[in-house]
C-alpha cells in the first residue's frame, strides 16, 4: 500500500467513524414543520386566488347577495349496469386456493375499507344484453379489488365478478392482463394469483410464482418482464426475463445492473442512469432525455411525459414523441408520486395528484399532448395516491376514448370533456383498486 492508498484509507475510515446522523426524530420533526408551512402557503395562495376571481365577479353583479345553488359534483353521473336480464352464478371457491371467496384485507394504503363490504363468494355474471356506457368498441376492462376481479365486456353488456385471493402485501401488487387471463403479482414475496377467463383463481404458475419485485408488461399481450436477482447481489436485479402468463420463460432477457424505474409504455422498461433516462430493450438502450433533474410523469406507447428542471429551477412537463424524438412543451407542471398513463393514440396523458390536505379528493390532470394544455378534474371519489398501484389505478381504453380509474368505484372519464361517470351496479359491492384493459379476445 503506497502513501496515497494509506491516506485514502485513513480518510475513508475517519469519515465512516465521524459522520453521525442527527437524531431521526429531529429530522422527522423538521419535515413535519416544513409540511405544515407549505400547507399554510398553499392555503394563502388559494385564498388570494379565490378573492382575485370573486371580487371582480361580485362587482359585476352589482354587489347583490344571492344564494347560488351548488353545481353538480364532478363525479356526478352514475351509470348503473342493468341487472334485470340474465344472471348466472357459479358457486364454489377456487380448488387450488382455499382463500378464494373469503374476505381479505386490502393491501396497505388501499382506498376505503373492506370490512363493511359484502364479500364476493361466488362467480357471478350479469348479462345485460346492451352496451355499457354506450361503448361498442371491442375491448374489455378488468378491475381488481382485495376480494374479487371484475371483467366488464362493454359491447355485449356483460359483467363477470369472481372471488380472488387477497394479496396481503404492504408493498402492493402489479395487475396485468393477458389474452385469456389476468394476474396479480405482489412486489414482495407474498403469493399472487392468476385468474383465467374461463375459471377461478389459481396460484401463479412457473416462473411467475417465485421472486417478486417489479412485474412490467412485455412487448406482446400475455408477456411480462420479471426480475432475476443474482445470488448475493446487494444491488438486486441483474436481468429481466420475459415470461408468459402461463409461467413459461422465453429466451429473451434484458441485462440489468439494478432495478428498472418503470415500464416504457411499449413493452420494455425505463432505467435511470447517472445523467440520463434510458429506454432499455434486449438489443440495447437509448437515452431519451438527459439531465440531473428529471422526473417521470407519465408513460405510454407513443412516448413519455417528463419533467425536466432548468438551472433556475423552473420545471415544465415535456412530452417526448417516441417515434420522432421531438419534444413538445406543455403548460403542465406536475410531479406525481406515481407515474401517470398516456393514451394509446398519444392524445392525452392522465396524471393523478393527491389533494395537498390529504383528503380523499384528488386532482386528475388530463393533458392534451397535441395542444399542450392541462385540464384538471377534481374527483370526489379517487384512488388513494399513496397506495402503491404501479400505475395501474388508471387504464385507457385501446381507442383512447375513455380513461378508467379504480377509485373504490370504477370511474370512466371522457378525456375530451373531463366529464366523469361512476359505473355502479356491479355485483358484489367491493372496493376496486386497480384496472387494466385489453382488446376483446378473438372468437
Amino acid at each position: 500500500m503506497d502513501e496515497l492508498d494509506r491516506r485514502l484509507a485513513a480518510s475513508r475510515d475517519r469519515l465512516r467513524d465521524r459522520v453521525t446522523p442527527p437524531p431521526a426524530d429531529h429530522l422527522i420533526a423538521r419535515a413535519r414543520r416544513r409540511r405544515t408551512q407549505r400547507r399554510a402557503q398553499v392555503a394563502v395562495v388559494g385564498l388570494v386566488a379565490v378573492l382575485a376571481v370573486a371580487v371582480p365577479i361580485a362587482s359585476l353583479i352589482g354587489g347583490q347577495h344571492r344564494a347560488v345553488p351548488a353545481g353538480p359534483p364532478s363525479t356526478g353521473q352514475v351509470v348503473t349496469v342493468p341487472t334485470t336480464v340474465t344472471v348466472t352464478t357459479t358457486r364454489g371457491p377456487s380448488p387450488s386456493n382455499p382463500q378464494s371467496g373469503q374476505s381479505a384485507p386490502a393491501s396497505s394504503g388501499a382506498s376505503g375499507t373492506v370490512a363493511s363490504l359484502a364479500p364476493v363468494t361466488a362467480a357471478t355474471t350479469i348479462d345485460a344484453g346492451q352496451p355499457i356506457l354506450g361503448i361498442r368498441g371491442g375491448y374489455e376492462l378488468f378491475a381488481r379489488s382485495p376480494q374479487a376481479v371484475a371483467r366488464i365486456q362493454f359491447a355485449p353488456g356483460r359483467v363477470t365478478v369472481k372471488p380472488a385471493p387477497g394479496i396481503q402485501s404492504g408493498a402492493g401488487a402489479f395487475f396485468l392482463v393477458g389474452p385469456h387471463a389476468v394476474i396479480a403479482r405482489a412486489w414482495d414475496l407474498v403469493p399472487g394469483f392468476l385468474m383465467p377467463d374461463d375459471g377461478l383463481a389459481t396460484e401463479l404458475p412457473g416462473a411467475l410464482s417465485g421472486g417478486g419485485g417489479n412485474t412490467f408488461p412485455g412487448p406482446e399481450l400475455g408477456q411480462v418482464w420479471v426480475e432475476e436477482t443474482a445470488n448475493g447481489a446487494e444491488s438486486g436485479v441483474d436481468k429481466l426475463l420475459l415470461v408468459g402468463l402461463d409461467g413459461k420463460k422465453t429466451s429473451v432477457t434484458i441485462p440489468m445492473s439494478g432495478p428498472p424505474l418503470a415500464p416504457d409504455g411499449d413493452g420494455y422498461v425505463l432505467v435511470r442512469g447517472a445523467n440520463c433516462l434510458y429506454d432499455v430493450r434486449p438489443d440495447g438502450r437509448t437515452c431519451i432525455a438527459s439531465g440531473a433533474e428529471l422526473d417521470l410523469v407519465a408513460v405510454g406507447p407513443t412516448g413519455w411525459l417528463l419533467r425536466p428542471c432548468a438551472k433556475n429551477e423552473h420545471c415544465t412537463d415535456v412530452y417526448i414523441d417516441r417515434r420522432t424524438g421531438q419534444h413538445h412543451q406543455t403548460s403542465a407542471d406536475i410531479n406525481p408520486q406515481q407515474w401517470g398513463v398516456i393514451s394509446p393514440d398519444g392524445a392525452h396523458a392522465a396524471v393523478l395528484v393527491p389533494s395537498p390536505d390529504g383528503s380523499d379528493a384528488s386532482t386528475l390532470h388530463l393533458i392534451d399532448l397535441r395542444a399542450g394544455t392541462d385540464r384538471t378534474v377534481t374527483l370526489a371519489s379517487s384512488p388513494d395516491p399513496s397506495a402503491p398501484s404501479y400505475g395501474s389505478n388508471m387504464a385507457w381504453s385501446p381507442d383512447g376514448q375513455w380513461l378508467f380509474l379504480a377509485a373504490g368505484q370504477i370511474i370512466a372519464v371522457d378525456p375530451t370533456t373531463g366529464h366523469s361517470q361512476a359505473v355502479t351496479g356491479i355485483p358484489g359491492d367491493v372496493d376496486y383498486i386497480q384496472v387494466a384493459t385489453r382488446p376483446a379476445p378473438a372468437r
Partner: protein, 179 residues
C-alpha cells in the same frame, strides 16, 4: 406515515450517502446538509419512496441532484474548500466538526468530474468498481482508467508543495479576484 420505517432507512443510509455526495460537493459539512435535505424531501414523498425497489438509491439520486445544483449555484467545490482557510494544522477543529485530510481532499476536488466521482465512490464510499460504473453510467473499464489517471494526478499534487507563506486565505482571495 410509518416513521419507524423512515427512521430506519435514514439511520442505515446516512453515512454512506454523505460520503457518496462528497463526489460532488467535496465538503463534508455541505454533504451532510445535502443529505439531510434529501431526507426531508423523501419524507414528504414517502408514499412514492415506498414503491421503489431501492429507497436508498432514490434518496441518493435526490441528494446528488441537490448537490449538483448547489455546486452550480455556489461555484466550484474548490472554493468551498478554500473557505475553510485558517485551518493550517489540518487537525480537528475546535467545534468538533470533521476534518479529513485536507491536502488529499484538495487534490480530489481538483480532479475532473468523472475522475473525482470515481475516486470518492470507490475509495471513500468503498463501493465496488461495478457499482461505481452503474452509478456514474460508464463501463467498468472506464472507471478503472479514470482511477488510474486520478491516482497519478493526485500523487503529483500531493508531492507538490505550496510556496512557503502562501495560505489558504491567500488562495481564496486570489480565486475570488479571478472569479
Amino acid at each position: 406515515m410509518d416513521d419507524a420505517w423512515f427512521a430506519q432507512l435514514y439511520e442505515a443510509s446516512y453515512r454512506r450517502l454523505v460520503v457518496i455526495v462528497l463526489s460532488v460537493s467535496s465538503d463534508v459539512g455541505v454533504a451532510e446538509e445535502v443529505v439531510q435535505e434529501a431526507f426531508l424531501r423523501a419524507y414528504a414523498r414517502q408514499s412514492r419512496l415506498r414503491t421503489v425497489h431501492n429507497p436508498e438509491a432514490w434518496v441518493c439520486t435526490v441528494a446528488l441532484n441537490i448537490a449538483r445544483r448547489r455546486r452550480r449555484r455556489h461555484g466550484i467545490a474548490m472554493r468551498a474548500l478554500l473557505r475553510r482557510a485558517g485551518d493550517p494544522t489540518r487537525a480537528e477543529r475546535p467545534d468538533g466538526s470533521i476534518v479529513v485530510d485536507d491536502e488529499l481532499m484538495d487534490a480530489i476536488a481538483a480532479l475532473p468530474d468523472g475522475q473525482r466521482e470515481a475516486v470518492v465512490l470507490h475509495y471513500l464510499a468503498d463501493l465496488p468498481l461495478a457499482e461505481v460504473a452503474v452509478r456514474t453510467g460508464v463501463a467498468e473499464g472506464t472507471v478503472k482508467s479514470r482511477l488510474a489517471r486520478a491516482r497519478s494526478t493526485m500523487q503529483q499534487a500531493l508531492q507538490d508543495r505550496r510556496p512557503h507563506g502562501v495560505t489558504n486565505a491567500d488562495l481564496l482571495q486570489e480565486a475570488e479576484d479571478h472569479g
